[in-house]
Symmetry: C2
Subunit: 240 residues, 2 copies
């Protein structure tokens, strides 16, 4: 099984995903939010690229969530925050989510055979799902402000480590994958501390959102692996 | 001191280097070749971007060296190989060098206040030189085939590690720099093995150039730090 790791959404082209399993990572915070919302009983998360699309997608009962530059969008119900999602009732409601990089990364990968949503929160379950799907894999680290984000790299390395343990044949990784595996192995016991040193971690701490870092730094809290699926014209993430 | 690390030459824009010290890394093999040629007594290495420029720059006594896709260019004296440079007499001769990524990376950085040429071979000396120059630093990993190359990332991490030891104030690294520092720390005792697992390492092994990997994997063999300087219209690397 071949695995390619892409360092940020700007580095990805949609053709790279054809015939592959795509794994999208945006630890701080889009994919952590999607996993958390579904674990809390949301009926599905609709990732959209723009504020306008978010408003257009909203139906009665839906929660409108999203951020620009780490802050909640004016008029939206919630930001892009696992902490807020846990404090509000999302049970049996759809979440419409737009974020700077994460939802854009999900849309970039739609030519893949399967699109899985990963974060530290569900890494082992996601690694198992990817191995079971028996396709070559492209791991897309969404990044932040068009640049590599260390928390996404850590999560990519954790996925690779788990996939290596699970798979029957050795993984063939590209150079960036090899580097991310080493990053994870070197920092495995200091994940939260490493994330707090990264650019997005520092920005969230400054904005008083340290609780989101705590939540998003947890490994394997959830067993659900959200998949992107088409429901008519709407793309929706769910664990079913 | 702020340090930014760029993952491949395609990610770099020349404006990023203004007022900075640029450190250019292409372990396999352009910067290792430049350092080796100068250590062997070459009077200077002229990095050029194209085969045509190489031929135009050649004066009597100069050695014409370069590669495309790891192979020597037809009609050139030598490839881009530290091994070949050591086996031939470069003493007091200029080397005109064109390579796929490394020489392109050097030209991309010319708006920097200082341009230093680094590889594993001179990492500690280069880290000291960069700290002494007291500018913010941009480390450009040239990469291979427009992608990140693990040997360049390892070298960036080694430089960061040495700069941290040398500097009086803590380094402020971007997320990619933090990741490369961890990569180096995790692989410090297996440098050659790691390089052999990377895409360029595998390609060189297949082409029978394993000896170049051995030479380029050595740490701190040389104390010279080549700098790019203008000599009239010609840009030339030398340790003077």
């Amino acid at each position: 099984m071949q695995v390619q790791v892409i360092s940020s959404v700007n580095e990805a082209s949609s053709a790279q995903f054809v015939h592959k399993t795509a794994i999208i990572i945006d630890v701080l915070r889009a994919t952590s939010s999607i996993i958390t919302a579904l674990a809390a009983g949301s009926s599905g998360v609709v990732p959209v690229e723009t504020v306008m699309e978010a408003r257009a997608a909203q139906q009665e009962g839906d929660l409108l969530c999203g951020e620009r530059f780490c802050k909640k969008i004016a008029g939206f119900d919630l930001g892009n925050s696992p902490d807020e999602l846990l404090l509000n009732s999302v049970k049996d409601r759809r979440v419409i989510l737009t974020t700077t990089n994460g939802t854009r990364a999900i849309h970039k990968s739609t030519r893949a055979d399967y699109v899985l949503v990963a974060a530290l929160l569900n890494a082992s379950a996601c690694a198992k799902a990817a191995v079971d799907l028996r396709r070559d894999v492209v791991i897309l680290c969404a990044g932040s402000h068009d640049e590599f984000a260390i928390e996404d790299g850590l999560c990519a390395g954790l996925l690779l480590s788990r996939m290596q343990e699970r798979g029957s044949a050795p993984l063939e990784m590209d150079d960036f994958g090899l580097a991310m595996l080493s990053l994870y192995q070197e920092r495995a016991n200091d994940i939260k501390e490493t994330i707090r040193k990264g650019a997005t971690g520092k920005r969230l701490l400054k904005l008083g959102m340290g609780r989101d870092i705590d939540l998003c730094s947890e490994v394997d809290t959830f067993a659900g692996v959200p998949r992107l699926q088409a429901n008519g014209d709407t793309l929706i993430c769910s664990c079913s």
